[in-house]
Symmetry: C2
Subunit: 463 residues, 2 copies
C-alpha cells in the first residue's frame, strides 16, 4: 500500500454510478438509485492518484503519517465534472449575440466578430473560462477553437485538465488539418498528462469528405480521436439527406472518423437508423449533449439520449461555448438535460438524478476518451475531486443526495476542487488563476471585439 | 424632499422594465432591450420606502446627513424578486418524491406524507424556505398551504414579505373556506404591511362550484383576491371539458372568482378561447408560471406566455413547492421559462432577457396584487432591493446585463437584500433567521415525515 500525501477525511463519497462497477454494497441511502454514496469515508491520494477509498477511522496511523488533510465533514466528494464540448475562449463573447436565430447568430454576429480575435483575446478568454469552470467543479473540458496553443498554455498554468482540439475548415485548404495535427502531436500528454489532444475538424458541413478521410487517417497515426460538430439539429440531418442522401453520421462512418474515435458535438440530429453506424464503435465514441443551447436557439431537436442509451453509446454533458450557452456550468447543463429529457419523452421516470450523475461523470469520461483516468473516485484514477457543501439551506433537508446534486445544487456549493491531487479551488477561492487580469483585459477589448464594420466573417453558415 | 435613513450608493440600477414606465432616458447600455440600467446611481430610502433614485454625486450633503450607506459599487440593484406560487413549507419534502409521474407524486407520495404534518413541521419548513428565498433575492412569496398561521409567524419574524393563502378542499365541508377566510381577515396587513392575504381554494377540481362562488363573495367582502390551482396542464382542461363541457377558466369566470381577482397557479391548460374570460379582468388577475416543474413532471403543456402576453394578462414567475421543483429560486425559474418559451415557440427572438426580467418584477407584482408597492425601484415603492455582484467570472465580460441576470447569474451572486429597507441578507449572510435550527428540526423528522404505513392521504388526485 503506498503512503499517501493527501487525505480527504470523513466525506460522503460518490464512488460509483452503476452497481455493476461497484465493489461496495449499496449503503441504503440511495436504494432506488444506481448512484452509491458512501457516508463517512476517506479518500487517500498519493502522487496525484487515488490510492484508496476507505471508511473513516479504518486507516492505520502509520499510513496517514505526514499526509495533508482536507476535512470532508458535511461535504460530498464527487469526481471532477467533465465538460465534453465547449469553446472556452468564447467567454469573451458571452451575452454579445442574444435572442437571435442560429443562422443570424453565426453569420451576423459570431463569425464576423471572430475576425477580430487576437491570440491574447483567446488566452484571456480561456483563462476566464477555466476560472469559471474550476469554481463550478469542472476539472476537465474538451475544447474546440482557434489559437489553441494559447489555450494549452492557460490549461498548463491553471492546473486544469483539458482535451484540446484546434479547429479547422476545408476553406483553409490543407493548412487547417496540418495545423490541427501539429498542435495535437505537440501537446499530447503535456502538463504532466493533464493536456490530451484531438483533431478538430469544425463540422461535417464545413469540412469536406476528403479532409475528413485525411482527418481519420491522421488521427489513427497519432493514436488520438477527433472532436467534431455533427448533426447539431435534425435540420442538418435533413439538409444532408436532401443534398447528399446520407446522414451526418453516415458521413462520419464512410470517411473513417467514427472508426478512429470521436466526440460528436450535439448529435441532436442523430436518427434511429444512425445507430447502425454508432453501435459498433460505441467503445471509442461519445455524444456531447448541450441542452441549454438547444432551447436558447429555439431548436426543436435535442440529443437523443434514450436512443443512444439503448444503443450503448456514451452520452456526455457539454455546455457549448458561453456565447451560446452563457455559462460553462456542467451542473446547470446536467440539470437542464434531465428536465428536458423527462418532458421530451413524456416520462417522468426517465433520466433519474442518478442517471444524470452517471452522464456527468462516467459517461462523460468515456466521451472524452479518458475513462481509465477520470470520471470515478476509484483507486488508480487521477485525483480529480470536487467537494460540495451539503449543508446549504437550498439542499436541506437531504432526503436524496442525487436529487440534490442534480436539481437543487448551486455552483457556489462547490467549495474545494482538486486536479491531480492539487488544490485548484480552496473553499471557493481560485489558487492558481489571476482572473481579474483576464476580466480587465477582455473588458477593455469589448468595443474592438464587437466591431463588425469590416463586413467580413471567418466562414459562412449554411449547413 | 424627505430626509433618508439609508442610501445605496453608486450601483447600476434596474429601474424600469418597460420604456413606457420610464422617466429616465435609455443610457445606451441596453439599447435593444426594454430593461433600463442606470449606471452610477444612488437609491435613497426613508422609513422603508424608496424616496428617490438619482445619479451618484447629485444629492446635497444635507440630504445625506446621518443616513446609513450601503456601497453599491460593482453591484446591480434590482427589485426584490417575487415568487408568485409556492408551498414554502414543502422544503420538508424536497427530494422525497423523485422521478414519478404527477398522479403518483400526489397519490402515492405527497398526499400520504402530508397526513404526518405537525404545525411545527410547517413552521420549520417555512423558515427554511424563507431563508433559501431571501438568500436568492426573493423578497416576496405567494404561499398556499396548511397551518398558515405558523407560516405567517415565520414571515413576521424573518422580515420577508408574503401573500398568504390558507388551503382548503370542498371535502372539508364549510370549515375549509371559513378557516381560510378567518386567516385572511386576521392577518391582512400584519407585520407592518408585509403580510397580505388571499383565499386559498386548492383547485377547480378539488373545490366545487358552490364553494368557489362562496369564495368569490367572501373575497369581495374582504377586499382581497384568491389564489388557486387551475388548468395546471392541458390534460386538466380536457378532463374538465369532457366531464363538464367547460374549461377551468370558464369555471373561474362563472363562479365569480375571476371577477374578484385571482392568482391562477400554472394555467398551462389555458386555451386561446379562454382569453375571452381573462382579458376583461386582466387588471386583477395574473398567471404564475412554474416551468421547471412542468418539465420535471414530464408535462407537455406549459403556461402559454405568448397567448397571455398578447391578451394583456400578467404572467408572474413561480417556483411551485420545493417537493416538485426542488428549489425556491425565482432566478432559476425565470431562466427556465425564458429557455422553454424560445423552444416551444420555435422563436429565438421571443422571451428576451429584458422580457424575462419584466415577468419577474413588474408582472409578478401585478400577479400577486402588489403592483403599487413592489416590483420596481421607483419613488414611493417599498424598499425591497436586491444587490447582485456583477464582477463574478461567470458574468464577465459584461456585454449585456439583462442576459447576465437571466442566463448566467448564480443565486450566490445575490449579496445584500433589503425588505422595507431592512437588511435581511448582508453580504450573503442571513441577519434574521436561525436556519440551522430549522434544518436540524426537519432532519430528525425525516423518518416520521416519510411514513406512509398509515395508508391514508389528505385527498385524492383525480383532476
Amino acid at each position: 500500500m503506498p503512503l499517501v500525501d493527501l487525505i480527504v477525511t470523513d466525506a460522503t463519497v460518490l464512488t460509483h454510478t452503476t452497481p455493476a462497477d461497484a465493489g461496495y454494497p449499496d449503503d441504503g441511502g440511495a436504494a432506488r438509485a444506481t448512484a452509491i454514496f458512501l457516508r463517512h469515508h476517506d479518500i487517500g491520494i498519493a502522487d496525484g492518484v487515488i490510492a484508496w477509498v476507505r471508511p473513516t477511522g479504518t486507516t492505520p496511523q502509520a499510513e496517514r503519517e505526514g499526509a495533508e488533510v482536507i476535512d470532508g465533514r458535511g461535504r460530498l466528494a464527487m469526481p471532477g465534472l467533465i465538460n465534453c464540448h465547449t469553446h472556452s475562449a468564447m467567454t469573451m463573447f458571452r451575452g454579445s449575440a442574444e435572442d437571435v436565430p442560429v443562422e443570424s447568430w453565426f453569420n451576423d454576429h459570431i463569425w464576423p466578430m471572430e475576425v477580430n480575435l487576437t491570440p491574447r483575446d483567446v488566452a484571456l478568454g480561456a483563462r476566464l473560462a477555466i476560472a469559471e469552470m474550476l469554481l463550478a467543479g469542472v476539472t476537465t473540458f474538451a475544447d474546440h477553437y482557434f489559437s489553441m496553443d494559447e489555450i494549452a498554455r492557460e490549461v498548463t498554468a491553471s492546473g486544469a485538465r483539458a482535451v484540446l482540439a484546434s479547429t479547422y475548415f476545408s476553406s483553409e485548404g490543407p493548412a487547417g488539418l496540418d495545423r490541427s495535427a501539429a498542435f495535437a502531436a505537440g501537446w499530447q500528454g503535456a502538463a504532466g498528462g493533464r493536456v490530451t489532444t484531438m483533431l478538430g475538424p469544425h463540422a461535417t458541413y464545413t469540412v469536406d469528405d476528403a479532409d475528413l478521410q485525411r482527418t481519420a487517417r491522421t488521427a489513427s497515426q497519432l493514436g488520438i480521436r477527433t472532436h467534431i460538430h455533427a448533426a447539431e439539429g435534425m435540420f442538418q440531418t435533413e439538409s444532408s439527406l436532401a443534398a447528399r442522401r446520407v446522414t451526418p453520421m453516415q458521413v462520419l462512418h464512410d470517411t473513417g472518423v467514427l472508426e478512429s474515435g470521436v466526440i460528436i458535438a450535439h448529435g441532436a440530429g442523430i436518427t434511429p437508423d444512425d445507430v447502425r453506424w454508432l453501435a459498433p464503435v460505441a467503445d471509442r465514441i461519445g455524444v456531447a449533449a448541450c441542452d441549454k443551447v438547444y432551447l436558447k436557439h429555439a431548436q426543436q431537436s435535442t440529443t437523443p439520449v434514450r436512443l443512444l442509451h439503448d444503443a450503448g453509446v456514451p452520452v456526455g454533458i457539454g455546455t457549448d461555448g458561453p456565447a451560446s450557452g452563457n455559462t460553462l456550468s456542467v451542473l446547470e447543463s446536467m440539470r437542464m438535460l434531465a428536465l428536458v429529457e423527462k418532458q421530451k419523452t413524456a416520462d417522468a421516470t426517465w433520466l433519474t438524478s442518478a442517471h444524470a450523475l452517471d452522464l456527468a461523470t462516467r459517461q462523460s469520461a468515456l466521451t472524452v476518451g479518458l475513462a481509465d483516468s477520470i470520471g470515478a473516485l476509484l483507486p488508480g484514477r487521477r485525483a480529480d475531486v470536487v467537494l460540495v457543501a451539503l449543508d446549504r439551506p437550498h439542499l436541506q433537508p437531504l432526503h436524496d443526495i442525487a436529487a440534490g446534486l442534480v436539481l437543487s445544487v448551486q455552483e457556489s456549493d462547490v467549495r474545494t476542487v482538486l486536479v491531480d491531487g492539487r488544490v485548484v479551488v480552496d473553499e471557493g477561492r481560485l489558487t492558481t488563476i489571476d482572473v481579474q487580469e483576464a476580466i480587465d483585459g477582455l473588458t477593455v477589448r469589448i468595443p474592438q471585439l464587437r466591431d463588425r464594420s469590416h463586413g467580413r466573417r471567418i466562414q459562412d453558415y449554411a449547413p
